[in-house]
């Protein structure tokens, strides 16, 4: 904690205050080591209101979409009778189901590959003492914050050029679902690395030493102690990557070829051709799927671990 004198303006006098430290003894309230929730009456009145409004703001649009996906009428502002006809239309539309499966496939492959590479990278960054550590770290961070437009364009051009180059040798290489996967993995690695690295760095090194001390080899210590403790972070980042890939638009937009396209791109075309409630249905469906996957994984996982510990991890 930094301890510099705080300058307080009281009226026109400038008073040098002693450093504000945290020990409970200085405060007027009775505190123990644990946090005590503040009493209601010192809460500014506007806070709950703003929060409630924001929650409404966040949920209104998706609720509206869901609501209208069950609309029997075509229009967007008149609600007819509840009907499943748009979902029916969806399921029987081969282009949509094709895109759906493609998106799921892409997301799965992306999840697996980027989780592996990202975890390895996390270990390398935390454990290795190498002059490549810092540059790789910076590279990864740059990747993380680059707007998708920029990386999308870059991938588009490199794939096009590579395609032209390989054509000379008779190899067909063009934009396709493969290039979409490659693009997705590229932006996903950084997310996995950051999450896993955070957890890895927080692990007590002595725990691994204890494993060695008790007879586990280096590989054994990794297998029996480090990885089990790291598992939540790896799974969480894997899920995150799955959702990001499934929902991804911009990178897919630049790296997709002709033929089957990922679902978000399909939605994009649909929006451009004209607005129909079918889009509401697709959107609702996608949302339900991703939420279901996340909830299912959470449920699986809290049964194995202490629930409170994992929820605490979410807040980190």
């Amino acid at each position: 904690m930094s301890e510099r004198p705080q300058v307080l303006r009281a009226g026109s006098a400038v008073i040098e205050q002693p450093r504000i430290a945290a020990p409970a003894a200085q405060t007027s309230s009775i505190t123990t080591g644990r946090r005590r929730p503040p009493r209601g009456f010192d809460r500014p009145r506007f806070l709950p209101m703003v929060t409630a409004l924001v929650f409404i703001y966040l949920f209104a649009p998706i609720l509206v979409v869901t609501w209208f996906s069950f609309n029997s009428k075509q229009s967007l502002n008149v609600f007819g009778t509840p009907s499943l006809k748009w979902y029916d239309q969806l399921i029987h539309d081969p282009i949509i189901t094709g895109s759906l499966f493609a998106s799921v496939e892409i997301a799965l492959v992306t999840m697996v590959v980027s989780t592996v590479i990202g975890t390895l990278l996390a270990f390398g960054l935390v454990r290795a003492r190498s002059r490549f550590s810092r540059p790789t770290d910076i590279l990864m961070l740059l990747n993380l914050v680059s707007p998708e437009v920029v990386t999308g364009v870059a991938l588009l051009l490199v794939f096009s050029e590579a395609g032209g180059f390989l054509l000379q040798f008779g190899i067909q290489f063009g934009l396709s679902l493969t290039t979409v996967v490659l693009g997705h993995i590229t932006f996903s690695i950084a997310y996995v690395t950051i999450i896993v690295r955070g957890r890895l760095a927080a692990l007590n090194r002595e725990v691994e030493e204890a494993a060695l001390d008790l007879g586990a080899t280096n590989v054994g210590a990794m297998r029996l102690v480090t990885l089990p403790l790291l598992w939540p972070a790896i799974i969480a980042s894997g899920l995150l990557v799955f959702v990001m890939s499934f929902d991804d638009f911009i990178t897919s937009y630049f790296t997709t070829g002709v033929g089957v396209e990922p679902l978000p791109l399909r939605i994009y075309s649909m929006i451009h051709f004209g607005v129909t409630p079918e889009i509401n249905a697709v959107g609702t469906l996608m949302m339900v799927m991703t939420i279901a996957i996340v909830l299912a994984a959470l449920a699986l996982f809290t049964r194995q671990q202490n629930a409170r510990q994992e929820l605490a991890f979410l807040a980190e």
Partner: protein, 359 residues
Amino acid sequence: MTTAESSTVRLEGVVKRFNTTTAVDNLNLEIGKGEFFSMLGPSGCGKTTTLRIIAGFEQPDEGSVFLEGRSVENTPPYRRNVNTVFQSYALFEHLNVWDNVAFGLRRKKVPEMEIRKRVGDMLELVRLKQKATSKPRQLSGGQQQRVALGRALVNLPAVLLLDEPLGALDLQLRKQMQIELKEIQRTVGITFIYVTHDQEEALTMSDRIAVMNEGLLQQCGSPEEIYERPANAFVAGFIGISNLLSGEVQDHGVRLKTGQVIPATIDAGIAAGENVFVCVRPEKLRLGPKVDGQVSVEGTVVETVYLGTATQYMVELAPGLRLVAIENNVHTATSDRRLARGSKVSIGWLPEHGRVLRS
């Protein structure tokens, strides 16, 4: 020289450097079987580094380490017959108490039947039988500490290394654990190497103590040796309260700042005129008129502290020259019997109780 090794742990000329600091400087130690051996010193003195070298987590830059007579230069921690109790306990959060304790035995592929017996017995020994299925985070600090101990001990290593294991416990619990640890060590008969910065802990628990400072071994000996016959001013100052009177060697005695020459035993190596300290322990001082055969000095009482069992007096002989004396409250149980501030007093001690140490 190679002799039949009777020592369990032997360090020869061990040096360990980190960047520009020398954490351990030319350390030579020999620790025998079944000993309760403590390494004592302030933070940064090198005691923990030495422990880690014995465990195998650090490699010495120079020197050799022998465990049970065998050189362990190239032996990784998992193949050394040594186990560690870490300062942070380092329990496996994802395993329960039973699996934590059984971990080492399972690594050695001990048959499950035997594991069941040994882990069960160990949990009895550390009084955690009820908590076998609990996870570490559900336990108190003291309980976690006992899991760490049990986990290490159940493997019956040749040496058990303990890195300030009681540091995180409150005073009451610490005292209790000290007694328990000593009893366990006596029962199991394993060599304990115990690192601490608490000199009282070291004195009460150890068979021998190695006092270290800034990477160098200051003195190695029994608690009595360390306390009564400190080798240098650092050891004298670090253990207990010591009175260090500075002066010069003169006429088989030491000339104090006051001009008085007090008789003291001068070791052969110390020449006349050298600056030395006379070190006297507070309980060896007697307040009262001079008795024949005793060394006696005069001073004024500047502070009287009632300690319950004893009274502590701070007496000033001359500006900057003070003595702390402790007298049991046998005749001085009531305040009117105790010497008041400002009273003039004579303090005496037997010449052999005044050790002369180089400055």
